[in-house]
Symmetry: D2
Subunit: 361 residues, 4 copies
């Protein structure tokens, strides 16, 4: 990690604390659990395993994850109701405690998703997106900080075709991410900047790399323009894969090499860490690809100064949610969840040997 001995001007108050949180988020390959599904997103997840999207079910599911005690404790990004509204019910130890306090008591760093979702950019063909959530963001972020939150997450998305991401989408989303990041830092929150290049479409892995490079290069250039401290932020990056409608499958080694090439071309060394996202990938692929990235990074051991970690949602939650829906057995569900945490931890060291769906040996 890069020395902090030079203080850029104008000084950011809380820079030291922000930097400590940023480092902690990517330390020891612990990862960041993405449990920040909006009410709409969690609905899809719950319904896919046959559960109703009730307040109770959402509460129980998150309660279950945050009270699952085991060695593989992640930081966690939450959705607003988890943080501000729900109380723990399942465990004896925490019964009645607000989940927000459960998280803090267990030494998990709490974060929150502050974006308000994507929307179409008018008159784009194919349709591209922008993200909302900047109105009143400083005040909201300060409220979250006062409630104990220490980092925030904001997601923008990019559509890949022969002619997209367009310059419009690239500039618009970079501007939005940069304003979110500088506002978060001003409020004492470490921004996790998540520019997701969607894996949906008919394109090669080379085209995906190109799209990532165009989007991320402009993003970091704009973060600099907005005076964002790179030492006090985390990048949540998509992996470089062929489009899901391309009829092509890449090996984990190809995905690892392409992803590492792309990150090394776009992410300045001052950024303390990068967490991979798994959106759109199966648990199995997410683990295999992420493992390959780390294996390669380890081999070329001076390859990058940033730490590589993960921030998975479905890859950590999916199987466990199935068990929960099928059995209702809290203990079994939590074990399933913790096993995924262990696999991710192994993959973060490039040492994941098992196979998703089966215990790793």
């Amino acid at each position: 990690m890069i020395s902090q001995s030079f203080t850029p001007s104008p000084t950011l108050k809380n820079a030291d604390t922000l930097h400590a949180v940023a480092k902690a988020l990517v330390a020891d390959c612990k990862g960041v659990l993405a449990a920040d599904e909006s009410t709409g997103s969690i609905k899809k997840r719950l319904e896919s395993v046959g559960k109703e999207n009730s307040d109770d079910n959402r509460r129980e599911w998150r309660d279950l994850m945050f009270t699952a005690e085991g060695p593989w404790k992640n930081s966690a990004i939450t959705f607003e109701e988890t943080l501000m509204k729900h109380n723990a019910q399942l465990s004896t130890r925490f019964k009645g405690t607000p989940l927000r306090d459960v998280i803090k008591k267990r030494g998990i760093i709490p974060g929150i998703k502050t974006d308000k979702g994507t929307n179409p950019l008018p008159r784009t063909e194919p349709e591209e997106t922008t993200t909302e959530g900047l109105d009143g963001l400083l005040e909201r972020s300060q409220d979250y900080y006062n409630a104990g939150v220490r980092f925030a997450k904001f997601r923008t998305t990019y559509v890949v075709t022969a002619s997209t991401p367009s310059q419009l989408a690239i500039e618009n989303n970079a501007e939005i991410q940069a304003r979110y990041a500088s506002t978060s830092q001003a409020a004492g929150l470490v921004p996790i900047v998540e520019p997701e290049v969607l894996c949906n479409g008919d394109f090669t892995i080379e085209r995906s790399a190109e799209a990532h490079i165009a989007a991320y290069t402009h993003l970091f250039r704009t973060l600099t323009l907005h005076k964002v401290d790179f030492s006090d932020m985390i990048l949540k990056a998509s992996m470089v894969v062929p489009g899901d409608k391309s009829g092509k499958v890449a090996t984990p080694e190809q995905v690892g090499a392409a992803t590492l090439h792309m990150l090394s071309k776009t992410v300045p060394p001052l950024v303390p860490g990068i967490v991979s996202l798994s959106s759109g990938l199966s648990e199995k692929d997410a683990l295999a690809y992420f493992n390959a990235i780390n294996k390669l990074a380890k081999r070329d051991h001076s390859s990058a100064s940033w730490k590589l970690s993960f921030s998975f949602g479905r890859a950590l939650q999916g199987e466990a949610m199935k068990v929960w829906a099928e059995t209702g057995d809290v203990k079994k569900t939590q074990e399933t969840f913790l096993l995924r945490a262990k696999w991710c931890w192994e993959a973060a060291q490039g040492e994941y040997k098992g196979e998703a769906g089966e215990p790793s040996r």
Copy 2:
């Protein structure tokens, strides 16, 4: 150094050879001797020690440097006449051999300055500069390649005040550097991209950092736009110092921290190496600052993936030229020159302990 296992598209032929040269240029702290003074620049140097700017004197001085045999052998950037016209005369071993062949026989990687110098940007206040040299550059570069040259150097300059470098200067010079770099790579030459932020003026070290960050960020963004392979290029960077008319002096530690911060914010890890330039600095300051950069980089040992080396002109040549002018003694001159090479080599490891002007202990 970053893995080369992913091939970006469209493929650059010769990528492997280019990458090998780029790595060699920054390997083992050997450094790159900047002996590419144009006829106008060498005139000033020679006259400052009381020598006439004759073809003979220019030949002899360069002959002397390129035949100085010792353990600290650098790569070398040459001016066109050195490469294409002059023969060695001084040493028995190489007498009559074109300097170009002397360089190759001694295992020095030969490079050439391909820019044609800076010119004012019309209507800028204060006056800022652009650089010429792009007309016919592909053909010239191919000719140099055929003559054995393996890398090229191109310099742009930036003026620091409260309102500069202007967006105009930043964009213009980035565009020019990027076109030079992509053209060089197309011709088989590793580009040494030299965006020099001038140290002349009345500004703080923080303002220098800010100016560097603005210029270098846009530069790398534009290199990406021009599809320059970062694995196959070198950056020649200025150090972050207070302006020479600011009345302020920075400690080597401050210069080291500010320079490393700036580089870590702007230079992607895929770039194999960065060489420091010493223009405008005394031999003593150049060595002390460069040493501090490396000491700091070593301490935070994962601080960056790129190699840090040097490409000095005056700091390597200055003292030796004085000895040559005063004594005419070839051996003594070469010893003085080689001692500077040793000091630079020590500083490149953060272990320079002596003081310029005195032997290092």
Copy 3:
């Protein structure tokens, strides 16, 4: 005005209606009354004449303006409560009618301010601003459209010093304006894009021109990127004046020439009209400067294709509000208000001969 016979792709539905509204807004020099003061801004105005900022007073003041019947009927930008909440009380004819319907019945085109005010851009020195209001803008705009609103207004501001507007402020505000404009057009509202270069500070008229040119050039470039139809928008532009702390006073002719030069350098002919804003200027200066612009534009009669009109707040309302506060006399107040409308109408033709504060002859 420019021919609409070519349909750019992708087609904007409602383009014809939008274009008709845009043309109507700048037709016949009628002008656009800026009565869109937020609750905070109207407070300052009311208190400056000794009136309490009560819901009643706000209602009465706006009631008074919208029911003032006379030959100089403007279009009007309103604040949300005017449009969505207040009813007319003063006139026999409209008593009890929602102001929204009064406006429509009187043939005034109703508009609404959709921005949510300016906020500081973090870490800018001097402090520069961004504007909020994009979250949920499409839905809000559609609601306004359904309530009869036909145009919207969104204001961003720029601070002028030797080093600002910064590239950050220029890019951020252009991006925001462009997204507002494309969203408004998608919802059927003609966007009045208002990039106000603030007149506060110590700068020359030449520096003001330079700042305007930098900001407006990037703005129109970004409007194009966002596929905004220029035929279906209006620009609300500040006038080019020396800073109010510069100790310099420009003649109306100088302001006219500088403003017209700036607009002719930055605003494409496809834009149907430009309305001048008077913020920060006295009633007297606003009228004199605006008159000079139109006089000059008329003399060089092919000078521009866009129509030049006005969108004044204080210059139309200020004196009338004083009369209202002092006398409570509705008729006298409305006459004062209508006289300003007449003066503005004269100035829009470059024929304003009187002096603010006195009847024009």
Copy 4:
């Protein structure tokens, strides 16, 4: 045309003279004869009519054009040898006089092509181009000025496909044009900026409009950045047509509407004039399209402040060259040439009624 009463800072010396030349170039629909074919281009033209590309033939052909006396006298862009080397031979009046002096004596404003042709941009797919000619441009331009030249021309080209012109080509060529234009103005030459969107390819007229808009918007934004005086320059613009391999034919009215829409969206009113180029079009189409543009501009008579004129090469020279090659009859050739000049003059007023290949009625 726009008032010049405001002087932007920093002042451009010779602004008045430059502005007078710029206005003269587009006055009275006289047009600008593009006789600046490079030695390579004129070769193709000559050989297509069966003439050898000899120095003599080039001299005679240009002699013939420049001494053709008639009412439709154009300004003229020349190639370097015409201006600096060739003497008139054909006419009694001018025999032995350098063509440069013939041009001046006949009251034709002489211009020169200062670009050095297009070259590929490395690694672009499809291959896009950049233009060379900036090295030493200030000195060359000053030499031309001293030889009596009053304007210069510089051409860049853009390739249209689904994914091009790329951001790379757009930025690179805008940067080059802007530097050419500011350098020309500094040397006292009015720049004719020629960004030609090539009509070769398989694309719709809408895609052509889109490509033009993207390229020209960025061009004018960059001309502003380079402090180019818009009052003292001319734009040489391509017409918006479907690609020649699209299998689609547009009517003159469609081309006129699309071209006027595009120009009105991108060219600020301060630019005194736009000349259309005819490259790639037949004489017949060039005349019909250009006529339609002017007819439409006249109908919507306030449509634009800039003057619309033409700068044709083949459309003026093609038929005459055939006559010359076939008959060797100077008088007949000159009559053919002058008839085209008359047609163009008619079309510039939207009143061209005849058909190319036949006398206009």
